[in-house]
């Protein structure tokens, strides 16, 4: 921070202060300068100086100084050059130009690296999957068998498992997640609102392996002992439904994986929906309350319709997570390559198959089939995530208007 004393010192010594030093108070005063002058203007430098009270003391001096010199001069000042010639000045300006161009190039390269990263992922997965694609063709997608002994591989069971566990997760997590979001924005006492909101956001950051280990040691035994026998007892004799709840209660299986996934994506859904609910203009809600709407009517007829695109985007993001989630599922899915109508049966998902078998896969075709599974997963999640981003972008644009 430049003090008045220092400025006086510079003045008496007839030395220009280094601009870079001057800029540190500028940074801090800038926001204020922008507010008070109404808009950012091109003589921002002087505006910023003017509104920074501590600099104002030395303001007159600084304004004078700045009128007489540019950064090029100051740069040479820092190099302790006593006399500034035109040639030296041109050199400094040239070096500025060069540094600017190279930094621009560097950032551009980094931005392109992000694109290359995505391209690299797709290309490398495709190359890795090529032997399997050649061997099985389109049939890979519709073959259920997964047999390393006979080298017959098909993706149907893992794809089915991925889709069905994600569907269960969404069925459970969407209503509850939206309920939490409504609670946080409309019903929660203001004192609790912030801590609860933060707690939910923190939970979204807990590594998925934690959910996995909890699912295996705590949740699966609980389901096996209490929930599954009850469900079998209740629905086992009803035709149609009995098929869903057939088989012995193992604890681990498709249903368990789906519920653990649901608990895992719950924080995502509720924190994103809370954000979009908060973006609903209060005027709309107040108008609805004003004409006598009840809380539930306001939520159903004002808040949710207004925030629909954002909610759908958030749900799709959570779906993307659920589809690609590895560790939380691998622990509790049971890893069986078959398609079963029963929710209690063990199954597998794409990511669980890869996580379980990749390091043990022998033979090119086996490895390559696993990579092709990865490629399929990537394509599915890419589509879901792209759709989610599109939806969220739409609501952002709406909020800006």
């Amino acid at each position: 921070m430049l003090s008045f004393k220092k400025l006086e010192h510079f003045r008496t010594q007839n030395r220009y202060p280094l601009l870079l030093k001057m800029l540190s108070p500028l940074e801090k005063s800038g926001a204020k300068a922008k507010d008070e002058s109404g808009s950012a203007n091109s003589i921002g430098a002087f505006t910023a100086l003017k509104y920074h009270d501590r600099l104002w003391f030395g303001g007159e001096f600084l304004v004078q100084a700045l009128e007489q010199m540019t950064l090029a001069d100051i740069a040479m000042e820092s190099g302790r050059v006593a006399y500034i010639s035109a040639g030296q000045r041109a050199r400094v300006l040239r070096s500025f130009k060069f540094r600017d161009a190279s930094f621009h190039g560097l950032t551009l390269a980094a931005a392109l690296a992000v694109l290359i990263l995505l391209g690299g992922v797709i290309v490398s997965l495709f190359i890795g999957a090529l032997p399997a694609i050649k061997a099985f063709g389109f049939g890979f997608l519709v073959t259920e068998s997964w047999n390393p002994v006979t080298n017959r591989f098909g993706a149907m069971a893992p794809v089915y498992g991925t889709l069905i566990t994600s569907a269960i997760a969404m069925l459970v997590a969407v209503p509850i997640g939206l309920g939490i979001a409504v609670f946080l924005t409309e019903l929660c006492p203001p004192k609790l609102r912030r801590p609860l909101g933060i707690a939910i956001e923190l939970l979204a950051g807990i590594p998925s392996i934690i959910y996995g280990i909890w699912g295996l040691f705590v949740f699966a035994p609980f389901l096996q002992q209490y929930v599954q026998p009850t469900l079998i007892g209740a629905f086992g004799s009803i035709p149609g439904l009995s098929m869903l709840f057939a088989g012995p209660p193992y604890g681990i299986g498709i249903l368990t994986a789906g519920i653990v996934l649901a608990i895992m994506v719950l924080p995502y859904i509720s924190s994103i929906s809370r954000d979009v609910f908060e973006a609903v203009p209060p005027v709309l809600k107040e108008a609805a309350y004003g004409v006598g709407c009840t809380t539930s009517e306001v939520v159903r007829k004002v808040v949710i319709p207004y925030a629909r695109a954002g909610v759908v985007g958030g749900v799709m993001l959570a779906l993307g997570r659920a589809l690609g989630e590895t560790m939380a599922v691998t622990f509790v899915i049971g890893n069986a390559h078959r398609i079963s109508g029963s929710l209690f049966a063990p199954g597998t998902t794409i990511s669980a198959t890869i996580a379980n078998e990749f390091t043990e896969a022998v033979g090119d075709l086996y490895t390559s089939s696993l990579i092709e599974l990865g490629l399929i997963l990537f394509v599915i999640t890419f589509i879901v995530l792209a759709a989610a981003r599109y939806m969220l972008m739409r609501i952002e644009r709406k909020a800006q208007v």
Binding site: L26, E27, G30, K34, N41, G44, A45, L66, T70, D100, F103, H104, L106, T107, L108, A109, A110, A111, V114, L117, G120, S124, G128, I176, L178, G179, V182, F183, E186, L196, I200, L202, I206, P207, I209, I210, I213, W214, L216, V218, I263, L266, T294, S296, E297, L323, G324, E325, T326, M327, F331, S351, F358, T359, G374, F378, T381, F382, L385, A386
Partner: protein, 282 residues
Amino acid sequence: MRGMKIYEARRHRNKIAVVLYYSAAVFGITWLVLILFTLLREGVGGLSLSVFTQNTPPPGSAGGLLNAIVGSLIMTGLGVAFGTPIGLLAGTYLAEYGRGTYLAATVRFINDILLSAPSIIVGLFVYEIMVAPMGHFSGIAGAVALAVIVVPVVVRTTEDMLRLVPGGLREAGTALGMPRVLVISRVAYRAAKAGLITGMLLAVARISGETAPLLFTALNNQFFNANLNEPMPSLSVVIYQFALSPYRDWQKLAWAGALLITFAVLALSIVARLLGSRKVAQ
């Protein structure tokens, strides 16, 4: 009379809906609290000094997690060291040089996709480009896999934070004849410093619990290893292996490790949040 009836019905429906909202909140939050509670109970039981001083044991005997903790620290540190500069520069491009260009919009979109892409895909990718050509698993491959996850996180936060820096500041610098490189590095970066650090911390929090990308890049190692060219153990992979084992000692260590990871991640996120919120408060 009829009006009253409708009114009563609406009130009833509202009561039911509100009860449902409340129960959703209670239900959801209960599960999450339950998980943390179990973690604390089981994890504290497994924690002891030997966890930090001994290496992972062979089946059926006691030991610690020292090698896994060190491996995790090395790979996380390297992952952040590789990923942050790229992310920072790319984020700078999006917020400064490339603002409003078609390229920037594309990069932003792709980056958002990478941000939530399944991490196991990253593992496969790094396996294909590093492990397969090198012929063996290695700690460095694990670090690269983590770096691939760091990049999109840092790009996103860098761009967001630089956008919060008021344009008047940049104009102030430009009006003084500063070249853009100095406006960015001396003005914008400094003004957004807290936010940039927050982004980095969030990235560390994100990768310190990652398991899937390490499974077939760094693999695992029973022994203490600081050689990046060899398979390297990490806390999360050790948890995975130990939790699925039938040995009681291993399972206990897995819980202890899970507690350590969760604690570290939560601490990092809280620190990041504090830094970030102080920025907003200003």
